[in-house]
């Protein structure tokens, strides 16, 4: 670590649980953040400021005027710019020492698979179930820890699927993919600005803990936030032994990818565009 790094990250290094070793592991980490909206904004800002060495920031969307209420990566001057590039500029302004790779694309199929394979930690900051399940399948396949957050109206949910461990549940164990899923759109339902900050910041906290190898992650626990009454609730869930995604597969077949025609389908109508 350089003198500048020792100074920049000194308040982390002072933490007994983290120290120089933990910060060094953070610096050596590659985080994939899918979605540069309400959740991805605070998550990316904290991962960058805390020194995650490489951040791949993916979003196919451009900054919209209605995003500025909560998507704090972006500025009014950058309305119309690709969110991934706008995010890169925001992160570079805070910490020019880390590598930020902006990708303006809707991740699916082989591109998603290849990116997840190269990442150490994946943050799901997306706004639709189809992408959430596609990310989960790729993380199961490559045994990558997945930090998943969601926020709508005054409701937040956050959990970790630590798929490096064979006994850890995956997203599909908790909420199996189904055709009758009700997609709730923030463009229609609205979302309380700091709620996305709370949930996205907790995703950053979990991701940094995983990167540093400290503490206890949210694996097997789902946190529910009611921001209107400001109450947190915790529920527990287990790996589904018969899970269609992370459960037993035919001999020689890697888990995560199913022989199904719609395995990488994207929802055309259920997408919450302005994030």
């Amino acid at each position: 670590m350089t003198d500048d790094q020792l100074l920049r990250y000194s308040r982390h290094i002072l933490l007994d649980a983290l120290g120089i070793e933990g910060q060094a592991r953070i610096l050596a980490s590659h985080a994939l953040i899918v979605g540069a909206g309400g959740l991805g904004s605070p998550a990316a800002l904290y991962l960058a400021s805390a020194g995650v060495g490489k951040i791949t920031l993916v979003d196919d969307d451009s900054v919209d005027f209605t995003n500025l209420q909560r998507q704090i990566l972006h500025t009014q001057a950058r309305v119309g710019m690709a969110k991934a590039e706008s995010g890169r500029q925001a992160l570079a302004a805070i910490n020019p020492e880390i590598a930020v790779v902006p990708l303006q694309q809707r991740l699916s199929g082989p591109a998603l698979d290849a990116l997840v394979a190269t990442a150490d930690i994946v943050l799901d900051c997306t706004d639709n179930f189809a992408t959430r399940h596609a990310i989960n399948r790729a993380c199961v396949h490559h045994k990558k820890p997945l930090v998943s957050g969601a926020a709508i109206r005054f409701d937040g949910q956050i959990s970790v699927y630590d798929l490096r461990r064979d006994d850890a549940p995956c997203y599909h164990c908790l909420f199996p993919e189904g055709d009758d899923v009700e997609e709730v759109r923030c463009a229609v339902m609205g979302v309380f600005a700091p709620l996305t900050g709370i949930v996205g910041t907790m995703q950053a906290a979990e991701a940094l803990k995983l990167a540093a190898g400290i503490g206890q992650s949210l694996s097997g626990r789902l946190l529910l936030l009611d921001a209107l009454d400001m109450e947190w609730r915790t529920v527990r869930f287990r790996k589904d032994p018969a899970c269609a995604v992370c459960g037993p597969t035919a001999a020689g077949q890697a888990p995560g990818y199913l022989p199904r025609p719609d395995a990488d389908r994207e929802s055309a109508g259920g997408v919450c565009r302005p994030g």
Binding site: A150, C186, V235
Partner: protein, 85 residues
């Protein structure tokens, strides 16, 4: 017992916590339907299965079986998957 309703279904109940009577998960859902007509079908499909985006938690653990017995002084939490980001 006290039942936590996910906000997507507050249109039926008007509030997050409601009281419902019954000795099993199924009976609680039946009583919710009596009080708030239409709410059960949002959680249970035509085959009588819990919808995949709805999860029920009792004593903080997930409940799959509608015949699961419940104690009146406990809480049933109904959770709906969120996707907004």
């Amino acid at each position: 017992m006290r039942v936590l309703i996910p906000s997507a279904l507050h249109a039926y109940t008007g509030r997050p916590w409601v009281e419902a009577a019954g000795g099993t998960v199924g009976e609680i859902l039946d009583d919710l339907e009596r009080q708030f007509p239409g709410i059960r079908f949002r959680m249970i499909d035509e085959q009588g299965n819990i919808r995949r985006h709805i999860r029920l938690f009792y004593r903080r653990e997930m409940v799959f079986d509608l015949a699961t017995p419940l104690a009146d002084d406990e809480e049933l939490m109904i959770v709906q998957a969120l996707s907004g980001g």
